[in-house]
C-alpha cells in the first residue's frame, strides 16, 4: 500500500485557510454553548428514585421497556431486593408541567364523584403537592378516604384542608398499571437524589485537568522548547472546544444519539486530551530531528518536510483508534454513544489540529520573533 508516498504539500503557506476553518468552528461552538448550552445527564443533575414492589415476580427487561416508553427522560431500571422489586431512577425532579395538570384533573374528578355539590377550591399548589380546601369537614373526610383508596398520598393539614402529593411515582403508577395489568404493585418510596458528581468531585476533576495540562506544558517545554509546548496545549484546547461545541450544536438533533454530558463523556474528553497530544508530539519529534539535521534550512521547510514525511503515520495511527471508536459509535448502543461520539470527532479534529494548528504556531512564533530554534 502506498498512500501519501512522496507527499509534498506546502502546509505552512495554507495555514491561513486552517485558521479560518478552526476559528469558525470554535466560534460556532462557543456561540452554541452560550445559547443552547449543554445537556447535563442524571450524573450531574440528580433526579428521582422510585422503588416499586410488585405482588408477583417481574421480568426486569419487560419493566425496563415499559418504563422507557413513558416520558421520563433518561432512566435507569434495576431489580431492588428480590425479583419483585424494581428501582426506577429518572432524571426528572418533579412531574412535568403538562402532566401535572392532567394529574390534578384526575384528582379533581375523583373528588367530584363523591363531593359533586360541595365547594372545592385549590388553595395552594406547588410543584409536588396541591392543597384542597373543603368547607364541610365530613366531605373532606370522605374525599380523603376515597383518594387514599385510589392510591394517592394524602395528609390532612387541618379539618378543612387536604394536601395531596403529586409525585412522579403517582403519575408512573397510573401509566404502568395499564401496561402491566395482571401484576399489582405499590410504591415503596419516592425520593429526590442528588447528582453522582457532587461539587467536590467536579472541583477535583477540574483541578486535575488543569494540573494535567500544566504537566504537559512543562514536560513538552522541557523535552522540546516552550513554544512547542504552547502549540501543543493550544491544539488541545482547540480540539476539546470544537468537540464540546459539537455536543452543544448537535444535542437533540440526531435521533438515537445521546449527547448528554455524563461521567462517561467526561472520561471520553479526558482520553481525548491524552490521545490528541500524541499525534502532535510525533510531528514535533520530526521537526526537532529536521532542525538538528538541516541546520540551515528555513523553519518553514523543516516544518513542511516534517508534516509531509509523518503524514502516513499520523493518519494511520488516528485511523486505527478511529476504527474502534467508530465501531463503538455504530454498534455500542445508546449507553456508549456519547462516549464514542466525543472520541470519534475528537480524534478527527485532533489529527487535523496537530497538522494545521500546533505546527503553524511554531512557525508564527519564529516569524514574529525572528529567533532561530536550535536543539
Amino acid at each position: 500500500m502506498k498512500v501519501f508516498e512522496n507527499l509534498n504539500i506546502d502546509f505552512i503557506s495554507k495555514r491561513k485557510i486552517a485558521y479560518v476553518i478552526s476559528g469558525t468552528l470554535i466560534l460556532l461552538g462557543l456561540l452554541s454553548l452560550a445559547v443552547r448550552g449543554l445537556e447535563y445527564g442524571i450524573d450531574f443533575k440528580g433526579g428521582t428514585d422510585i422503588a416499586l414492589k410488585f405482588d408477583k415476580p417481574i421480568d426486569i427487561a419487560e419493566a425496563r421497556s415499559n418504563l422507557s416508553k413513558l416520558d421520563l427522560g433518561n432512566i435507569e431500571v434495576k431489580t431492588f431486593g428480590d425479583d419483585t422489586g424494581i428501582l426506577l431512577r429518572t432524571e426528572l425532579q418533579s412531574v412535568p408541567a403538562n402532566v401535572y395538570n392532567e394529574v390534578i384533573g384526575e384528582i379533581n374528578s375523583a373528588i367530584l364523584t363523591i363531593a359533586a355539590d360541595s365547594i372545592v377550591s385549590i388553595s395552594d399548589s406547588s410543584s409536588n403537592a396541591v392543597t384542597f380546601t373543603f368547607t364541610d369537614v365530613n366531605v373532606a373526610n370522605q374525599v380523603e378516604s376515597k383518594l387514599q383508596n385510589d392510591g394517592y398520598q394524602t395528609s390532612r393539614l387541618d379539618d378543612n384542608n387536604i394536601i395531596v402529593r403529586v409525585g412522579i411515582a403517582d403519575w408512573v403508577v397510573g401509566e404502568l398499571k395499564s401496561k402491566i395489568p395482571n401484576n399489582n404493585f405499590e410504591i415503596l418510596k419516592e425520593d429526590h437524589v442528588g447528582p453522582k458528581i457532587g461539587s467536590e468531585l467536579k472541583q477535583d476533576s477540574v483541578i486535575s485537568v488543569i494540573l494535567a495540562l500544566l504537566g504537559i506544558l512543562i514536560y513538552l517545554g522541557f523535552r522540546f522548547k516552550f513554544i512547542f509546548a504552547f502549540g501543543g496545549v493550544v491544539a488541545l484546547f482547540h480540539d476539546v472546544l470544537i468537540t464540546l461545541g459539537l455536543f452543544s450544536i448537535l444535542k437533540g438533533l440526531v435521533p438515537g444519539l445521546n449527547l448528554e454530558i455524563s461521567i462517561t463523556v467526561v472520561a471520553a474528553f479526558l482520553t481525548l486530551v491524552g490521545y490528541s497530544i500524541n499525534d502532535t508530539v510525533i510531528v514535533f519529534d520530526r521537526i526537532r530531528e529536521n532542525i538538528k539535521i538541516h541546520k540551515t534550512a528555513s523553519i518553514e521547510d523543516n516544518i513542511n518536510i516534517a508534516i509531509n514525511s509523518t503524514m502516513r503515520r499520523t493518519v494511520i495511527t488516528s485511523l486505527t483508534t478511529l476504527f474502534t471508536s467508530a465501531v463503538l459509535l455504530i454498534f455500542g448502543g445508546e449507553v456508549l454513544s456519547g462516549f464514542a461520539f466525543a472520541l470519534t470527532f475528537g480524534i478527527i479534529i485532533g489529527t487535523y489540529s496537530s497538522i494545521f494548528v500546533a505546527s503553524p504556531i511554531i512557525y508564527e512564533y519564529v516569524q514574529r520573533t525572528k529567533k532561530n530554534i536550535q536543539f
Partner: protein, 631 residues
C-alpha cells in the same frame, strides 16, 4: 537463539503473571456456574418430591446448600475476593441508604444543654424521622413553644432566632456534605471500585457498591465515625475514691429499692466473711467491676457478660452525680481472655477533655509489629499536632495516655518521656483487616455526625442485557477491525503487531485484576479504545522501518535504526499521556481515577508489546534470514 532468551523469558513471565492474576476471575465464573447449576437441580428436586413446598422454604434450603458448598471448598470464597469485579451497570451490587444523625450534631453544638433541651431534641428528632422535615426547624419551633429563645442554646445572646436557624441549617447541611466527602474518600481508598455516592433528600446518603462480597466490612467502613482522641488516664488515688462512692451509692440505692422491707443491718466492716451473694448485695459495683489491689492502676476488670450491667449502673443519675464533671469511664475496645477463658474488659477512668483529637493526623499506616507480630497502626501528626503532643507527653510523664477511638480505648500506654516527633502508634486491633480499616478511616477523617444505615438491599444491574451485549459485541468487533486492518496494511508485520496486541490485552486485564479494578461498560469501551491506541507504537515503528528500507539499508539495519529512531517520538508522546494519567489519578477522584488507571496501564503494556514483543519477533525472523515485509 541465546541472545533472545532473556526477552522471551520476560514475555513468558509477563504473560504467566497476568494469567495468574486473572485466574481467580475465571475460577469464580466457573464456580458461580457450578453452584447455580447445583442449586437449580436441588430446587427442581425439592419441587418434585414435595409439590406443596413454599417458595420461602425452597429459598431457605438453597441458601443452606450454597453456604455448605462455600464452606466445603474455601477456594470459592478466596477466588471471589480476588476476582475482577463487574460494576453496578453490569452486575449490580449493594444499595445502602444512610442517614446522617444531625440531632447528635445539634447536641454537640448546644451550649450547656439542660434536661429540657435533651427532651426537646429527642422529640424533635423522633418527629423528623417520620416527616423527613428539617430537625433544625422542628427544634426551633419546639424551643420557642416552650417559651425560650434559641440563643439560650445556640449562637450569642444578641442574635435573632431566624439568624441562628439559618446558621444551624448551614452547619447541618455542611455536616451532610462532609459526610459524603468522607464516605467517598473511604470507599475510594479501598481500591478502584466505581461506587455511586449520592445525596438523597436533606440528610440521607445513598451508597451503591458493586458486588456484595465483604458486606460487613463495607458497613463498618461506612459507619465508623472514627473520632480519635488522646485522653490522660486518671491515677489510682483519684479514681479509687470515686469508685468507692459509686459502690456505696449503688448499694444504698439497690437495697432501698429491692429490700425496702428488710430491716436487718448487716455488719459491713467484716467484708471478707461475706458470702459471694452478700458481697454482691453490699458492693454491687465492685462485685462485677473488680480492682486488683496489687496493681498500681485502678482499672476495673469487667467480664464480658457483666459489661452491660456496669454500663447501666454508670448511666444511673445518682451515679452520674458522683463522677466529677471532668472525668468519664471508658471500656476497652476489645476484651482480653484470662487464663480461665473468660473475656474481660478493662474499665478506665479518664479525663473527659481530650488532650488531642485525630484531626491532627496527616498519615496513617497499618503494619505488623516485627517484635510482637501484632497488627499496629502508626500515624504521623502535622506540625501543630506534634508540638501539642510534645507538650502533653512532656507534662504527663509516667501517666498513661489512652488512645480512644469512637469512645472505646484501644490502648493506654504509659508515657515514658517527651515525644517530640509527633508519631504515634495504636495497638489492640484483632487482625490485619481491622488495622487496615482503621488506617483508611483515620486517613479519610472523622464523620462530623454519626451515620446510621436505614435500608440495605441488593440491586440488579442498571443496564439491560441487550445494552450489555451491544457493549461486548462492539468491543469484539473493534478488536477484529483493528487486527484485520493491520494485517491488510502491513501484511506479515501486521500479524506480528497483532500478536503484540494480544499480549497487551492479556496484560491489561491482568494488571486491572491486580488493582481489584471494577469493570464497567464504559471501562470496557476504554480498554477497546486502548487497543486502537496500542497499535500506534507499532505503526510509528513500521513507518520508520519503511523509511529506513527506502534509503537502501539491509533488513537488520533498517529494523535496528527503525526502532531506535522511533524511541524518542513514541516515548515523548506516551510519557506526556502517562503524565496526564498520573496527575488525574493523584488528584482526581472516583470515576476519573478509574479512567486514569486504565490509561496508564494501557500505555505501559502497549509500550512493552511494541519494544519487547514485536522487537524480539522481528529480530528472530531476521536472524533466521527471513526478509522483512512491511506492507
Amino acid at each position: 537463539m541465546k541472545e533472545f532468551r532473556f526477552r522471551l523469558l520476560l514475555i513468558v513471565g509477563v504473560l504467566a503473571f497476568s494469567i495468574y492474576l486473572l485466574y481467580p476471575t475465571f475460577a469464580d465464573i466457573q464456580n458461580t456456574n457450578k453452584i447455580e447449576k447445583e442449586l437449580s437441580l436441588l430446587s427442581e428436586d425439592l419441587r418434585k418430591s414435595n409439590p406443596t413446598i413454599s417458595e420461602a422454604e425452597i429459598n431457605n434450603m438453597l441458601l443452606i446448600r450454597e453456604d455448605s458448598l462455600m464452606i466445603k471448598d474455601p477456594s470459592i470464597t478466596e477466588n471471589r475476593e480476588k476476582r475482577m469485579k463487574l460494576g453496578l451497570d453490569l452486575q449490580g451490587g449493594m444499595y445502602l441508604v444512610m442517614e446522617v444523625n444531625t440531632s447528635k450534631l445539634l447536641e454537640k453544638l448546644a451550649k450547656d444543654p439542660d434536661d429540657e433541651f435533651t427532651a426537646i431534641l429527642e422529640a424533635a428528632s423522633a418527629e423528623a424521622q417520620i416527616t423527613d422535615a428539617n430537625v433544625v426547624d422542628i427544634l426551633a419551633t419546639k424551643i420557642s413553644a416552650s417559651g425560650k429563645r434559641l440563643s439560650r442554646y445556640f449562637g450569642s445572646i444578641r442574635e435573632e432566632d431566624s439568624d441562628i436557624i439559618t446558621k444551624l441549617k448551614e452547619q447541618e447541611s455542611d455536616a451532610v456534605t462532609r459526610a459524603i466527602e468522607i464516605i467517598n474518600n473511604r470507599v475510594n481508598q479501598y481500591g478502584v471500585s466505581e461506587p455511586n455516592i449520592q445525596k438523597q433528600g436533606s440528610r440521607r446518603i445513598i451508597v451503591e457498591l458493586p458486588g456484595v462480597a465483604k458486606e460487613d466490612e463495607a458497613k463498618r467502613l461506612l459507619q465508623g465515625s472514627a473520632l480519635l482522641e488522646f485522653k490522660i488516664v486518671k491515677e489510682a488515688d483519684f479514681s479509687v475514691p470515686i469508685m468507692n462512692r459509686i459502690d456505696e451509692v449503688l448499694a444504698a440505692n439497690l437495697n432501698s429499692e429491692t429490700d425496702s422491707t428488710k430491716i436487718d443491718v448487716t455488719d459491713t466492716t467484716n467484708a471478707k466473711d461475706l458470702t459471694a451473694e452478700q458481697f454482691a448485695k453490699e458492693h454491687p459495683f465492685y462485685s462485677i467491676a473488680i480492682i486488683n489491689p496489687q496493681s498500681p492502676y485502678a482499672d476495673a476488670y469487667v467480664k464480658e457478660t457483666d459489661k452491660n450491667q456496669v454500663m447501666a449502673y454508670l448511666r444511673k443519675p445518682e451515679v452520674k452525680n458522683v463522677i466529677p464533671d471532668n472525668a468519664e469511664f471508658l471500656f476497652d475496645a476489645k476484651p482480653f481472655t484470662n487464663q480461665d477463658g473468660v473475656n474481660i474488659f478493662r474499665l478506665y477512668l479518664v479525663n473527659k477533655e481530650a488532650e488531642l483529637t485525630g484531626g491532627v493526623i496527616v498519615d496513617a499506616l497499618a503494619n505488623i509489629d516485627p517484635q510482637t507480630t501484632e497488627p499496629i497502626v502508626t500515624m504521623q501528626m502535622n506540625s501543630e499536632g506534634a508540638r501539642e503532643w510534645a507538650r502533653i507527653t512532656g507534662s504527663n510523664i509516667e501517666k498513661r495516655c489512652a488512645i480512644v477511638l469512637d469512645n472505646a480505648i484501644y490502648s493506654a500506654p504509659t508515657i515514658q518521656g517527651k515525644i517530640p516527633g509527633g508519631s504515634s502508634r495504636i495497638t489492640g486491633m484483632a487482625d490485619m483487616n481491622e488495622a487496615k480499616l482503621l488506617q483508611i478511616v483515620l486517613k479519610a477523617g472523622a464523620l462530623p455526625a454519626p451515620v446510621e444505615i436505614m435500608e440495605e438491599r441488593i440491586v440488579g444491574p442498571s443496564l439491560g442485557q441487550d445494552s450489555i451485549n451491544k457493549g461486548y459485541n462492539s468491543a469484539l468487533i473493534g478488536f477484529f477491525v483493528v487486527a484485520i486492518f493491520m494485517i491488510y496494511y502491513y501484511k506479515k508485520s501486521g500479524v506480528i503487531a497483532d500478536i503484540g496486541l494480544i499480549v497487551t490485552i492479556i496484560s491489561i486485564m491482568g494488571i486491572l485484576a491486580a488493582f481489584h479494578a471494577t469493570l464497567t461498560l464504559p471501562g470496557i469501551a476504554g480498554i477497546i479504545l486502548t487497543i486502537g491506541m496500542a497499535v500506534d507504537a507499532n505503526v510509528i515503528i513500521y513507518e520508520r522501518i519503511r523509511e529506513e528500507l527506502k534509503t537502501g539499508k539491509t533488513s537488520k539495519a533498517a529494523i535496528d535504526s527503525g526502532f531506535v529512531n522511533s524511541y524518542s517520538a513514541i516515548l515523548d508522546s506516551n510519557i506526556t499521556t502517562f503524565f496526564t494519567g498520573i496527575i488525574l489519578y493523584q488528584f482526581g477522584s472516583g470515576p476519573v481515577q478509574g479512567f486514569a488507571l486504565t490509561l496508564m496501564i494501557g500505555i505501559a503494556t502497549s509500550l512493552f508489546s511494541a519494544f519487547v514483543v514485536t522487537r524480539v519477533i522481528f529480530d528472530m525472523l531476521v536472524a533466521k534470514g527471513n526478509k522483512i515485509n512491511i506492507g
